[in-house]
Symmetry: C2
Subunit: 550 residues, 2 copies
């Protein structure tokens, strides 16, 4: 909830998040989450071992190995010409050519990126990292890059899952990683913007990717929060002359900047709405007999959401099997042990293979929260939902932050996986979810995956006109010689299925290099040409050469 600079030394070099926070199997063979940063820290998850073995056919006997630390001999050399270095030193801006610093900024958190860190090395990484501390520093760096014809890749929090931060292998110029994470001052207010990556991602990154947070129903997405943006481009500085809530002075240049993914310049200043920290918070959860009823309930709540706007900020729907039983078990319900007992003993009518769970979070003033909570539960009841307590709700919310840690555990046991998201109109949600999950299972079979995959989804955000849906896909890759390639082929097929079902290319993860093959289809030839025309004007020499989007 507070801005803070990225502290590289606290973070894993080859996995998600903090060094001290990870899933392990303890001496008793029980899964446990380490560290004290998260509420889950120190907790033992009794059914987790069984779940991972059963779901993936994984065995704790068969553990993969990966490099314990970065081998600097593997790292491509830093090639930076001396004239540039002289000019850079004259600016007094901090920089580094150390292997660790450069590798840390050579990637985001796509599966293939983490896999490369564990098993090999990137062919191309930044040659130098620079740490500007203010707008003027950035202006100087961009000027030097133009003067010396360098390639700049802006770096915020490094949490990208679109290959946006990977260096184009064919880039011959010196690549400068421009790290903006230290440019944000700490602040005691609340923006309300809480993406899953909130702890690590940066304000500039939120703007550059068109970010969305879990509390967007209260606070809005990044485009609703931003009042003013200043960006440094090779053509000069772009910004509006005033800090007004709304204006009509031609096409909105903020929307030329938001989503530009580092291809046009560096965002150096953002004026964002802040609010007092909310007086009161309350979690909640609802179990629905099946995914269909859950989605119908969410749609109904979204319809009247404006009436609830004051406090409901989250309504995550965790799908369990949903038409893929019995081979798919939800990754989530392992965490919802309390819940399990609850529904099994008290509401046996619910088939554990097809039920689903919604997580709620209300915040605002106390009276409103209680009032809206009642309204939501009343609606849920109409759709067959059963209230399942605050604790499960809180665990569900927290889960969002620790999901990313799970993949590292899987990687230790030959399980690879990823999540990806889309947005979709309400009337297509169910078809899209079913078809994409089935497509994943089918593709796995065809590609020779020997164990049934995890293929599940959740509705993570709701709008009046549709929803954001996340898919979770993972499989045991033992016996497959090129697991990452197989994974990527299947994810690609899943994206084709999403698009064929009326879903978008991305709700908020962005395009990067991973999804750019579909850009023309997504925004039409002319739409893509418009983006290109802006790029060519702003950056004719492709100084911002990360090759995202276009």
């Amino acid at each position: 909830m507070f801005f803070f600079p990225l502290r590289q030394e606290l973070l894993k070099w080859n996995g998600w998040g903090y060094n001290d926070s990870k899933f392990i199997f303890n001496k008793k063979g029980q899964a446990e989450f380490t560290g004290k940063r998260y509420r889950l820290g120190g907790m033992v998850l009794p059914t987790f071992k069984e779940w991972i073995e059963k779901t993936f056919g994984a065995s704790l006997e068969h553990k993969t190995t990966s490099r314990a630390s970065l081998n600097v001999n593997d790292v491509p050399p830093s090639i930076v010409n001396e004239e540039f270095l002289q000019d850079l030193r004259a600016t007094k801006i901090s920089y580094s050519q150390d292997a660790e610093d450069r590798v840390f900024r050579a990637h985001g958190h796509c599966l293939h990126e983490i896999f490369v860190l564990r098993e090999g090395m990137f062919k191309r990484i930044p040659d130098i990292v620079v740490w500007p501390v203010c707008h003027e520093d950035v202006v100087k760096i961009v000027e030097l890059a133009c003067k010396h014809n360098l390639c700049i890749i802006p770096f915020g929090g490094g949490t990208s899952v679109s290959s946006a931060l990977e260096c184009p292998e064919e880039e011959k110029r010196t690549i400068v990683s421009l790290d903006t994470s230290q440019m944000l001052a700490e602040s005691g207010f609340c923006t309300g913007h809480e993406p899953d990556s909130m702890e690590f991602s940066s304000l500039g990154g939120w703007v550059a990717t068109r970010a969305s947070g879990m509390k967007k129903n209260i606070y809005g997405n990044i485009e609703d929060l931003v009042i003013h943006i200043k960006m440094v481009t090779p053509r000069g500085i772009v910004e509006k002359n005033c800090q007004v809530p709304r204006m009509s002075t031609g096409p909105d240049i903020h929307h030329f900047i938001m989503g530009s993914e580092g291809t046009l310049g560096v965002v150096t200043e953002v004026t964002i709405k802040i609010r007092p920290v909310p007086e009161y918070q309350k979690y909640g959860s609802v179990v629905f007999p099946n995914f269909e009823r859950g989605v119908a309930c969410l749609r109904e709540v979204a319809k009247i959401l404006r009436a609830l706007f004051a406090s409901i900020c989250l309504f995550l729907l965790f799908a369990k099997g949903h038409a893929l039983k019995p081979q798919v078990a939800s990754i989530f319900t392992s965490f919802l042990d309390g819940l399990k007992k609850f529904y099994i003993t008290k509401f046996k009518g619910f088939d554990p293979n097809i039920l689903c769970v919604a997580t709620l979070l209300f915040e605002g003033d106390r009276e409103k929260v209680l009032q809206h909570e009642k309204q939501v539960y009343d609606i849920a009841t109409k759709f067959g939902g059963l209230a399942a307590g605050e604790d499960n709700g809180q665990r569900g919310y927290m889960l969002t932050f620790v999901i990313a840690y799970l993949r590292d555990l899987g990687l230790d046991y030959y399980v690879i996986g990823e999540s990806f998201e889309t947005s979709v109109p309400w009337d297509r949600v169910l078809d899209l979810c079913r078809n994409v999950k089935e497509r994943i299972v089918r593709e796995c079979k065809e590609k020779g995956v020997q164990f049934a995959p995890l293929s599940t989804c959740r509705v993570t955000q709701t709008y009046d006109a549709g929803a954001c849906v996340y898919f979770y896909f993972a499989f045991n890759y033992r016996g497959i010689s090129d697991p990452i390639h197989v994974y990527e082929q299947i994810e690609r097929a899943a994206r084709e299925e999403i698009l064929a079902n009326g879903g978008s290319l991305s709700h908020h993860h962005g395009v990067g290099k991973l999804r750019k093959r579909w850009m023309k289809e997504s925004i039409s030839d002319v739409g893509l040409g418009m983006l290109r025309s802006v790029k060519e004007y702003v950056d004719p020499n492709n100084i911002f050469g990360n090759k995202n989007l276009l």
Copy 2:
């Protein structure tokens, strides 16, 4: 609230709105509004004559004359080459070269445009009007325009107040007015988008200008309502591939289209959110001792507006004198006669020269409306506001629709005037209002205006981060040889003052040709260059040559 095609034959050729609706002075010398379209129709306004005489120094003895009807001999000839006409006939698309049809589409409703209609003739008007009925018709027209090198000016409802529809005098090519108003089917739903011009303006026009409506607090501005846009450009068709509530696939191309003011192409299809007609509506009004308290109250309401989001859609603040007494009387209070008695008799503490009035409209379900109404009145009380009844509120809301009719009456008596708007952060509202109003008065003196002008303002829309402010400026121009030029110089000075006080170039009227001199200052050199680069890509031969914005 419903879409309907523009019916030219019902509308004035040289003034605002319907032929049968206007302010007149009846045989008794009393002001009256004619026709039955508005609730004000047939009503006598007893104090209006006195008000107009006192405020402007106008005399009903001195009436201007204007042309009773269009003199077709004054109208520039239609120059259209025969090859194009042959091609056009082959498409079966309706067209006209009649003088009336062409003049009707040669202008919007800026003061100088109406003045020209009354006193002279435009130097350049469209040569031909075409009426496509579907997307494919528009594609054909744009293709023909490219083939024959013609200039297309899209026309929606003709309510522009930015000179956007005026033909560039130096345009040598045939100018085709492409009227889209008949392309909208009638519909029984409610969009909630209610700009002052709602009765006449078009959906395509709302998109092209980034429109805002009076009920935006409930329903949102046009950017919040639009789900999908299709636009025909000389480069081809631009649109997204899906109809999702939100996506992150690079910069949002909808925002390249919204606000493009007819410079890039023609919007042919828009998918917009609709809602059931609200169950319950309730008007309201509050009198504040002064403008400062009123603004403070609005800001407080805006802060908690999300809690009230369900139903409050309007909170107009009509300023009276505000630091310009006694020479300025509010144009509005003439209509609030009932109110006048109310505060004079019951609350004598309020100085009639500095009080101000807020108009409220709540809509939604009945229970919420009543609940939110109470909350708003409670807040208003804290700021010294006194509830002033539903009737005054309803009159105030209705006034918004008839204000535009007032100017035509003024023009009959040597009074010229206009309104213009801006957006501004909350902390600048009071300074901006005071400084702009004073600047207008000062400029009038310097320019030789003999009578004190009307120089007043109102807050028309509120956001968490600021407000939209309208200024109303009018003066008696007797004794001035070039009144329009003087008017424009003063409005220009007022805009300079707005910008110097942190206001925007436009909240929702747009830029057109009237305000384009400030575009560079408003969105920076690079920002303007980005817009130009899109224009050059999409329309390299400037087929959409209305010369707005850039």
